[in-house]
């Protein structure tokens, strides 16, 4: 143990002799480890962000979408098919054949240009029923949500998400209720603003405008289909029953006998969550893989510098062997130096990686997560790189013949 400490001290002494070279050798590992940690943290943060926004939609929610069912894949964007109608939604709600559901929310979603005064933005317009706010857990910060009477009377009213308020009326605007916005030539009166859900990225629930479904279908877009029907099951345990009941009911209603020909698909939140996790997981692995390449390059840099060191110190190695150093002793000495190099690089890289992922989290408004598995991996990997890439130079040093080495000029 004392000897190990002395070897480590001695290695530090040798490495600090040529600070520039040592620093450059370490830099490769710093960049490698730093980018692995930053990119894996980034991947995991976006994964978490997506999971949060999907989970915030509720765990006993089923979504019926137009278009055929394909295993393992989410069907194209909502609005891609025209096979679901308001009549379907109403039938699901009123039939006695479906017993496991609470409420049904027919929805039509399209993107559109929206203007207010001189400002404009491109955002999602959602035609909804009042049930939407309970099923999708939307809370109102100011004013009211769409009511049944708004839907029945095809009123030209709108409820805005906070992001839309910011885009159209400027940050911090409070007196938005009562103002008018224009969507595709129609004037809509703002009757409410929703509470921020803090979502971001793929599914920003703050960047939306809610209008009565009837207004969206008849006044704004001139269509008679739905882009989805959200169904709330009685509880999370009857999800599969509800999925089956709705499925068979709609097949019958659409006069289809073979489930393989279904012109709609039903997803639970879990299906969506799993698929999204799979996609972002692959993404994270890809990012990590790219970063790992830079780590490999860093490792080769260490090996290169250790080989130079061995050549430069041939006489020293010869002397040590003449004075009684065994092969193992020489190997230990050079491996220690290599490991100190990579380990120092690993620690520095870890700190830099965490700082970068923190900055990225702020800039991209993602949740900041420190991936402890990535940190453990980085430390382990940097040590292992020292051993792997230090091994050959250390063997080379230990294999030198003392007379040859002492003679070397």
């Amino acid at each position: 143990m004392e000897d190990l400490i002395e070897t480590i001290k001695e290695s530090f002494g040798t490495l600090t002799l040529n600070k520039m070279r040592t620093g450059l050798a370490i830099l490769g590992i710093v960049i490698g480890i730093g980018s692995v940690i930053a990119l894996i943290s980034l991947g995991q943060a976006s994964q978490k962000s997506i999971q949060n926004s999907i989970q915030s939609l509720g765990s006993n929610l089923l979504t019926v979408m137009p278009g055929g069912q394909r295993s393992g894949a989410i069907q194209g964007p909502s609005g891609g098919g025209t096979t679901l109608t308001l009549a379907d939604a109403k039938a699901i709600e009123s039939t006695s054949k479906i017993t496991t559901i609470n409420s049904v929310s027919p929805e039509l979603s399209q993107r559109s240009q929206v203007t207010a005064g001189r400002n404009n933005t491109n955002t999602s317009i959602l035609g909804v029923y009042p049930q939407y706010s309970t099923i999708r857990k939307v809370d109102i910060a100011n004013g009211v949500f769409i009511s049944q009477s708004d839907v029945d009377n095809v009123r030209k009213v709108a409820v805005l998400g906070p992001q839309v308020v910011e885009d159209l009326f400027g940050e911090g605007s409070t007196n938005v209720v009562g103002q008018t916005i224009r969507v595709g030539g129609q004037q809509l009166k703002v009757i409410g603003v929703t509470v921020s859900k803090g979502g971001s990225g793929f599914q920003n629930q703050d960047d939306r405008i809610y209008v009565p479904l009837s207004t969206a279908q008849k006044q704004l877009f001139g269509v008679n289909y739905l882009s989805s029907i959200a169904v709330e099951a009685k509880n999370a345990n009857v999800m599969i029953d509800a999925q089956n009941e709705i499925g068979y009911f709609l097949l019958e209603k659409h006069k289809l006998s073979d489930p393989a020909n279904a012109d709609f698909s039903i997803f639970s939140q879990n299906d969506i969550l799993n698929t999204a996790s799979q996609v972002t997981g692959t993404f994270t692995a890809l990012l990590g893989g790219i970063a790992a390449i830079s780590l490999l390059v860093g490792g080769i840099g260490i090996m290169n510098i250790m080989l130079v060191t061995v050549t430069e110190r041939t006489r020293e190695i010869g002397l040590r062997k003449a004075l009684g150093a065994k092969k193992k002793t020489i190997i230990t000495q050079f491996l220690t130096e290599a490991i100190i190099l990579t380990f120092t690089g690993g620690i520095l890289g870890m700190v830099i990686g965490v700082i970068i992922s923190y900055i990225l989290a702020i800039v991209m408004s993602l949740p900041f997560t420190i991936s402890f598995s990535a940190i453990g991996l980085a430390i382990g990997v940097s040590g292992a790189i020292g051993i792997i890439f230090g091994w050959y130079p250390a063997q080379k040093a230990a294999g030198l013949q003392p007379i040859e080495a002492l003679r070397y000029e």
């Binding site: 040590r320 003449a322 004075l323 009684g324």
Partner: protein, 230 residues
Amino acid sequence: MIKVKDISKIYQTGTVETAALANISFEIKKGDYVAIMGPSGSGKSTLMHIIGILDSPTKGEYFLDGQKVSQLSEDEAAEVRNHKIGFIFQAFNLLPRTTALQNVILPMRYANISVEERVEKAKKYLTMVGLGDRMNHTSNQLSGGQQQRVAIARGLAMNPAILLADEPTGNIASAQAEEIMKIFEKLNQDGHTIVMITHEADIADHAKRVIHLKDGKIIKDERNGKKIKK
């Protein structure tokens, strides 16, 4: 102490065989002070490598302190060198940018001697060679003569069976060379066995016995009673 029996060292270059040493035999007793002399190419460096177990002979046997050491594995040889031989090289071969004390400690680190004992012994031997006040100087802060004295202290550190000096004064000024020779004489009086390789006659004159080598053979082996005292 040293028993060399019919030792040959043959180097092979292609099909041509060159004998650096041809059937050499001699014995050196404990407490002796022997110089091995010869011009360059006489085989004295090869002999020094074999005596120092840095190289093994092609033929013949070599006993050091009663142990047969002519055919050892690399690690066994390292251990014998560590315990039995104190090397003193022409080029000093101290670790650069390392203190005198650490240089003397080096061989003791390879022998599992406790840290306290290492430091204590290193201080003792450095004081003995007259460097008690320079223990914490690094090797590049010392003159050639001082560096060689550090090397002598390092050679003594493991209390070896023999001190093996290879042209010990070859790289230092003559005044300092005299000092080194005085240290050798004193060490010999204290009972240390010294084997010194040199090509300088006046250096060899300090020894009690001179073995002359030429073309890989011993041509003269004299115990010199007519040593000149300066």
